[in-house]
């Protein structure tokens, strides 16, 4: 299979996932007991305003027609109108989604950058002190609750050591290069919290596959050929061990985005997650629904990219 058709297939899968997300949301909104019109109702709401709201939502039409209308709306980029702010949901979210993407991608990059050396060190000193430490860290990391670790970092690094700002995404009144630096500085704590939660399983997977790979025939052959241990480890074994770890990243993207929602709430980070928190307290359903679709889209795009990276790491995938 050529690279083009491989990419095309992954793209098709991505489109299918987005369609699935859209359909699930549509059905949930209709089938759940919550009435979108009653949800915003105040005791003073009259029957007329309720009927008006129902017509506005198109909820008086048959289900199939509603579904097609909904799909058509989404294709035109119309996510509805926010209950509380009376502006299009897309406008509310468009300002937020870049921050969530920055946070998620930042955490992902940090996970790989810290995870690979840790995994390699642990696997090459199997059974040693460092290996045990990495394993304890890995198992504990998997069990962390994002807000807990967030508040801990906020307390120690932000308030006691004063190394990083404790909330927001940038400093007001900074421009140009200074602004970018302040964005990076504000990313430190939320990024680190999200990384710590994700890192454990990544390192453990990498370590386990690397340990297996180091016992494989091709490693024995490479040793017999007199290649240096370093070269065997980093060049030969690591390349194979990266495959399951990359799959894991793809599988965990959904969890990572969920973690981002919690992290943003702790650090008052202006991303979609923070938007969700505010929308929940105000019961702003169009925003909630739009936010979920945006996050699903983010995950699908990132997943497709991971798949493409996988194809590049492992040429066999493209061939099958």
């Amino acid at each position: 299979m050529s690279i083009a058709s491989f990419a095309l297939r992954r793209l098709g899968r991505g489109v299918l996932t987005v369609w699935f997300a859209v359909t699930v949301t549509f059905l949930l909104l209709r089938l759940l007991p919550g009435d979108p019109a009653l949800a915003v109702s105040s005791p003073t709401q009259t029957e007329a305003t309720r009927a008006l709201l129902l017509t506005q939502y198109g909820l008086d039409k048959p289900l199939a027609e509603q579904y097609l209308l909904y799909l058509g709306q989404l294709l035109r980029g119309n996510l509805g109108t926010s209950f509380t702010q009376s502006v299009p949901v897309l406008d509310v979210l468009a300002a937020r989604i870049p921050w969530t993407i920055l946070l998620t991608v930042g955490a992902l990059v940090l996970t790989v950058v810290i995870g690979i050396p840790l995994g390699v060190l642990a696997a090459s000193r199997r059974g040693g002190f460092l290996d045990k430490a990495v394993q304890v860290f890995g198992v504990t990391g998997q069990s962390l609750f994002v807000p807990s670790i967030g508040v801990l970092l906020l307390f120690v690094v932000g308030l006691k050591l004063r190394w990083a700002p404790i909330g927001g995404a940038y400093s007001d009144g900074t421009y140009g290069g200074q602004w970018y630096l302040s964005v990076l500085h504000h990313l430190v704590l939320p990024g680190l919290s999200l990384t710590l939660v994700q890192l454990g399983s990544y390192v453990l997977t990498l370590r386990a596959t690397l340990v297996d790979a180091l016992a494989d025939d091709y490693v024995v052959l490479a040793r017999a050929n007199g290649l240096s241990e370093r070269r065997i480890l980093w060049k030969h074994a690591l390349r194979n061990a990266l495959l399951p770890a990359t799959t894991l990243i793809g599988l965990q993207l959904g969890f990572l985005v969920g973690g981002a929602v919690l992290t943003e709430t702790v650090f008052a980070y202006p991303g979609v997650g923070r938007g969700i928190y505010e929308a929940v307290t105000q019961l702003d359903f169009p925003v909630l629904q739009g936010a979920f679709l945006m996050l699903a889209l983010t995950v699908v795009v990132a997943n497709t990219l991971t798949d493409l990276v996988y194809g590049w790491l492992d040429p066999r995938v493209k061939a099958s």
Binding site: L16, T17, F20, A21, V24, T25, L28, L29, L32, P33, G34, A39, V139, T140, Q142, S143, L144, F145, V146, P147, S148, V151, L152, L154, F155, L159, I166, L251, L253, G254, F255, V257, G258, G259, V261, L262, T265, V266, I276, Y277, A279, V280, T281, L283, F285, L288, Q289, A291, F292, L295, A296, T298, V299, V300, N303
Partner: protein, 301 residues
Amino acid sequence: MSAPLPEAVLGGLPVAAPAAATRPASSSTWRAFRRQPLGMAALVVLALLVLVAVVGPWVLAAPASYGTLVLAAPGAGHLFGTDALGRDVLAEVVYGTRQSVLVAVAASAIAIVVGTLVAVVGAYVPRLDAVVSVVVDLTLSLPVLPLMILVAALAGPSTTTLVLVVAAFSWPEVTRLVRSQALTVVGLAYVDAARLMTRNHAWIIARHVVPAVTPVIVVSVVVTASRAVLSAAGLAFLGLGDPTSWSWGRILYEAQSAGAMVSAWWLTLFPSLAILALVLSATLVSIAYNDARNPRTAGPA
């Protein structure tokens, strides 16, 4: 001290119990398990948490009284300090333990039953399996927590909502774990032999397929339960928990709303430690169980 423990932990989960009885290997697994100090320690912690969940609320008064001592640091009167409304944090954590354990057990029990059923029936009926694997793949690639938030917000916050929502989005993970094992089992000769004996497919699935995938189920009980704890805490932290009963996530949510999450460190520390203790000990138990079942790591039985 040794024998009744696994019953205490798994007893509330209907699937594991009857299937485990048909496995002769389980006693040797238990013997191998007992040799692992870390796994045993985790099991003890897990049993203690369950004990707190069951007995705690009988011993301690509910944290309803609005005391005058607001945001007091941990001390003699209040071991874990008090919150922004002067309620005892220790009582909140203890009552929260019951809620968290309840949600974890109920949600994972539902997820395990549904997930296993879908996986096993899917593996047994090839035509269904294609659909099952696509639905599972698609669901797993969605951001689950935002989806749970959407549903919980729509359905209104209550413990029942929490359990159903967490269960509804946890079963695909169970199906994924169990399905791969079930697919191998269904292809084995003894299942073919059973097919020759009877046309009662439900009997074959219950008698021959489910027992063979039980080890995977036991592991996924633990994984699903600990994920459920984290998901429920996450939802409660965002204000979507049950406002009428205490949970660890709710303590954190109220601390966040009161703006006291950092200044009153005890409001964050104790529920966080409780979450960590439950999830970590569950994870360690599943690791020890896996090692105990693996002949390479279990040693001579």
